[in-house]
C-alpha cells in the first residue's frame, strides 16, 4: 500500500489562560492511497482536531506530519494554504458554501485557484454536478435556495473540482436527513471506488461502514483500528463487523 500521509508523535494542546488541554497525545498514524479512512471516537476524543491537523488546516503543537516527501508540520499559514490548494479537498458538516455566490461560482472559485482555463473548470463542474444529481437549473441558484442535501452535494463537487489527492470530510452527513445522508455517502463511495483517497470523521455507524479502515480515538490516542474490504451495498457481515468493533471500543 502506498503511504500518502505519515504522522509521528503528534501532539495538540489548546491553552486557555493557565488551563491547558492536551487533545492529541503522541499520536502515530499512516494514511494510505486509495483508502476510505474513517476516524471515530466519542465526543471530545480529538477526531476533528486530528482531521484538521492531518489536512494542514491547523498546526500541531509537537510532532511531524509528512505528506509524501513534504514535511508540512513546520509550514507557515500561507504555505499550508498552498499545500491544501494543491493536495486537499474538504467537506464540512455544514456545507459552508459562500452564501453570496451562486452554485457555479462556489465551485469555480475553488477551481480557479489551481487553473485558469475557466471553460475547462466549468465543463468539469457540470460533469461532476450531473454525477451528484444537481441539474443545470440549479447552477445560478444561491446556497440558500438549495436543500441541505443538495448544498452538501455541491460542496462535494467544490471539494473535488481540483482532483485532490486526499479528500477530508468532517462529519459531512451530520446535518442531513437519512435520505440525503445516503445520497452523499453514495457519492463519496463512488469517488473512493474511482481511486479517491478519503479521510472522514464520523460518529454515525452507517457512514463508518463505507470506509475500509476505521481508526478509533480515545483521549487523544488511537486505541485500535479495523481493516475491511471495499464497501459493497447490502453487505450484512460488514455491518456486524463494524458494530462489534465499535462495541469493543466502548462506543
Amino acid at each position: 500500500m502506498d503511504k500518502l500521509l505519515e504522522v509521528k508523535d503528534l501532539c495538540k494542546t489548546f491553552s486557555n489562560g493557565n488551563v491547558q488541554q492536551h487533545v492529541l497525545k503522541n499520536l502515530n498514524i499512516e494514511i494510505y492511497k486509495g483508502d476510505f479512512t474513517i476516524i471515530m471516537g466519542s465526543s471530545g476524543s480529538g477526531k476533528s482536531t486530528l482531521l484538521y491537523a492531518l489536512s494542514g488546516m491547523d498546526k500541531p503543537t509537537l510532532g511531524k506530519i509528512t505528506y509524501g516527501d513534504e514535511e508540512i508540520s513546520g509550514y507557515s499559514n500561507d504555505k499550508l494554504a498552498l499545500f491544501r490548494r494543491k493536495h486537499c479537498g474538504f467537506i464540512f458538516q455544514q456545507n459552508y458554501l459562500n452564501d453570496t455566490m451562486s452554485v457555479m461560482d462556489n465551485i469555480m472559485v475553488n477551481g480557479l485557484l489551481v487553473q485558469k482555463d475557466r471553460k475547462a473548470i466549468y465543463n468539469k463542474a457540470c460533469e461532476l454536478l450531473s454525477k451528484v444529481n444537481i441539474g443545470e437549473e440549479s447552477y445560478n441558484k444561491y446556497p440558500g435556495q438549495l436543500s441541505g442535501g443538495e448544498a452538501q452535494r455541491v460542496s462535494i463537487v467544490r471539494s473535488i473540482i481540483n482532483s485532490p489527492e486526499l479528500l477530508f470530510g468532517d462529519e459531512p452527513t451530520g446535518a442531513l436527513n437519512s435520505q440525503n445522508t445516503v445520497n452523499v455517502l453514495d457519492v463519496m463511495t463512488e469517488l473512493n471506488n474511482q481511486g479517491q483517497s478519503i479521510v472522514m470523521v464520523t460518529h454515525d455507524i452507517k457512514s463508518a461502514r463505507r470506509g475500509n479502515r476505521i481508526l478509533y480515538l480515545r483521549d487523544g490516542v488511537i486505541i485500535d483500528e479495523l481493516r475491511l474490504d471495499k464497501y459493497v451495498s447490502g453487505d450484512r457481515e460488514r455491518h456486524v463487523k463494524v458494530k462489534e468493533f465499535l462495541e469493543k471500543m466502548g462506543w
Binding site: 476533528s48 484538521y52 488546516m57 491547523d58 499559514n77 500561507d78 494554504a81 498552498l82 499545500f83 491544501r84 490548494r85 494543491k86 486537499c88 474538504f90 464540512f92 455544514q94 459552508y96 459562500n98 452564501d99 453570496t100 455566490m101 451562486s102 457555479m104 461560482d105 469555480m108 472559485v109 475553488n110 480557479l112 485557484l113 475557466r118 471553460k119 466549468y122 445560478n140 441558484k141 444561491y142 440558500g144 435556495q145 467544490r158 468532517d170
Partner: protein, 798 residues
Amino acid sequence: MKTWLIAKSNMKKKKSNVVVLFLLIMIATILLYSSINIVKNVGSFLDDKNESVNGAHLDIITSKGFDKEISDIIKSIKQYDDYIKTDTLIPTADAKIDNTDIKGDDETMPVCLNVYDPEHKDRICNYKIIDEGKEWTEDSIILPYYLKTVKGYKTGENFEVTIDEQKEKFKIYGFIENVMISNPSTISVYECFIEKNRFDDIKDIDGLSLMDRFRVRLTDMNKSGDASDYFMSEINKNVDSEQFILYMEIFYNNMKTGASLFISILMAILAIFAVLIIAVALIVIRFSLNMYIESNLPNIGILESMGYTSSQLRMASVIEYVIITVVSIVAGLLTAFGISEKIAVIVSNSVGVKWESSIDAVVIVISAVAILSVVLLISLLTSAKIKKITPLDALRNGIHTHNFSKNHLPLLKSRLGVNSSIGIKSMLRQKRQSISIALIIALVVFSGVTVFTLYYNFVVEQDALINLVGLEKPDIMLKAKNNDNYGSIDFTKKCEKLREDKNVKYAMTYTVSSMIIKNKDKNMNIATEIYEKPDRVELDTLISGRVVKNDNEITISNLVAEKLGVKKGDTVIIESSKQEKSYVIVGITQRTSNLGISMVMSQEGAERVNSKIIPDTAYIYLKDASDIKGEIERIKKDMKDGDEISYTNFDEIYENILSSFTASLNILCVVFVIVTIVVISLIILLVIKMKIVREKRNMGVFKALGFTTMQIIWQNVMSFAPVISFGSLIGVIVGKMAVNKGCTMMLSLCGIAKANLSIPWFIIIGLFLATTVVAFVMCILVSTGVRKIEPYKMITEQ
C-alpha cells in the same frame, strides 16, 4: 436601568467604534461651533470693538484749506453726532515699510502717518495700545495690529519708512486696532501714529503731503452708507476747486463688511466640513449598528427569549449612541474653548483686528441640538431593524436578507483574476453601501477641489482673485510726488512717451473722480474709475455687455445696476461739479472691493461732463514683468522725472493686499488635508472591519480551500478601492463643473455673479490619484486584519 446596562455592555464590546465615533463627533463639534460662533459674532464683535474706542463711522482725508466747507457738510449730515479734525501725512511718492529686525520683509505700501499724544488722546478713535512699550519718544511708532498677526512684528523692533528714498527710522511702540482700516485687503494703506515733534520734522519732506483728516461719529452707525452718500453729493455740489483733493472717504458699514467677508467665507467652508464629518459619523452609526445586530443575533435572541422587548433592545442601542454623542459634544466644545486662541489667530489674520473669543450659549445649543438630533434620528431608524427579529430567527442566526435577484459578474464570464472578481462581486452585491461610500468620498473630494481651486487662484496664480477684487493691476504705477504738483504734470504726454519704450507693452492714464449717477428719482455717489483707454484695461470683471469704447459710455457694477434699477443699454445721467451729461450703460461688471460698487468711463468721457478732470496717475504694463524693479530704475533714468514722479511696483502692493487671504487659505488647506485623510481612513477602517466581521466564516472557508492571506486582502481591496476611486472621480468631475458656481454662490454676498476661477487639471488629476492611493494603502493596511482569521477556528466555532 436594564437598557442602560445593555447599552454599557454594547459600548464595552465595540470600543474601537466608540473611539471612532467619539473622534468624529468631537471634530465636527469643534468645527461647527467655531465656524457658527465666528460667522454669528464677527459683525457685532467689530461693532463692539469700534464702539469701545469711540471709533469713527466716517473717515475722510482731504487736501488742506477746505476745513470750513468740509466741517459744514459734516455737521449737516442727518445722523451727525461728533467729529474731530487732525493733521495726517499721506505719501504721494513711492512708500516702503521695513522691519529692519526681520530680513526680507520690506514691502511697498502707502502709510498714513498721524500724531499720537499719550497726554491728550483723541476724543474719537481713542485707541487702546496693544503690547505697549515703556517709553513714548520721538522715535516711537504705533503700527496696525495686522502687522503683528500676519507679519509677526513685535514691540521694540526697529521699523523704517522710506518715502522717495528718504529713510525715517522708528522703534515699534505698540499696535492699534482700527476696524475701519484693519487690513490691506479692505483699504490699501497702513495707518501709523508717531510723536508730534517727529511729525512736524518730516511733514515737509518730498513725497509726503500734509492733509486734513476728519473722523466723524454718527448717531446711527448703520446709516454710515447714507451719510457717506450725502457727504459725497454735498462735496460735488459745494466744493468746486482744482486744489481740492479727496484722498480717502470711507464709511463704517462698508469697511466692516469688507473686513469680515473673507473670514465669513472661510468659516462657511469649515461649517461645510463639519456637516461632512457629521454625515460620516451617521454612516459610522449605521454601519456600527448593523454590525452589532448581525454579529450579536444569538445574544439578541437570548435577551428576547428572556422577555426583553425589541423596543427595550432598540432603546439600548439608541441610548448607547446618545451617550457617545453627548460625551463627544461636551469634549468637542471644551476643545473648541481650549483652542479658541489658535482659531483667534486665523480670524485676526483675516480681519486684522484681535479676535477675542467668547463662549456663546446660543451657538452651543445650536451645535449640540443639530448634532444630537441627527444622531438620534439615524440610530432610531437603523435600530428599527431589531423590531423585525424574532427570538427564533436570532437564535438560529438566520435572518436572510440577501437579495438573490442577480448574480453579478459570474466567474465563468469574468475576464479578471479570481480574487479581483470576488472583490468586485462583493462590491456590486452591496450596492447601497457602495453608493454611500462613493457619495461620501465624492463630497470630500468635491470640497477638496473647492479648497485647492481657491488656493490655486487666490494664492498661487492670483489672477482670479485680482479679477474678483476688481482692482486693475498694472506692473508700475506713476504718481506725482507732491500734491502741489497736481495738474502740473501731464500724464497723457508721459504715457505717449512711455508707449514708445521697447519694453513697455502699454501705458495709459488713470484717475478717480467722485460723480453722481442718476436714474429717475434714484441716485448714487460713486468714485468713478477713469481710464485713458478702458478697452485696454487687463482686469476682466465684465459679466455682460462690453467695455467702454466711446466718450458717452460707461460700465457699472451689478450692485449699482440693481440699486438704480437700470440694465445694460439704459441711459443714465452723470453729474460732476454741478454739470450733467447722459451716458449709455454698455456693460455690467462685478467686484468685491468697495463693497461691489463701481463705475468706469474713459478720460474723454469724464472730460465730456467735467473738463477739469485731469489724470493724476499713469499705469505701465510691461512686455516682460519678471524684473519690475529693474525696469522702474531704467524707465526712471530714461524719463528723467524721478524728482517729481514716484514709481511704484504694483506687484508688491497687490501681494500685500492679498496676504490676508493667503494666510487664512494656507490654514484651510491644511485643515482640509487632515479632514480628508481622517474621513477616508475611518470609512475604510469601518467598512472593511464590518466586512471582516460579516464574512469571517466565508473568509475562513476560503482559507481552508487554499486562498492565502494576501489573496483575501486583495479581494477586500478590490471590493472597496474601485468604489472610492469612482467616488473620487465623481467628486473631481462635479468639482470641475460646479466649483465656479459654488464659489459664485458664496461670493454673491458681495455682488459676484461669476467667479471665473481656473481649475487646473493637475488639481483634478492630483486629487483623484491622491484619494485613490490613500484609499488603496488604507484598504491594504486595514485588511491585514484577515491574517488573524484561522480556518480551523472559523469552522469549529460555528
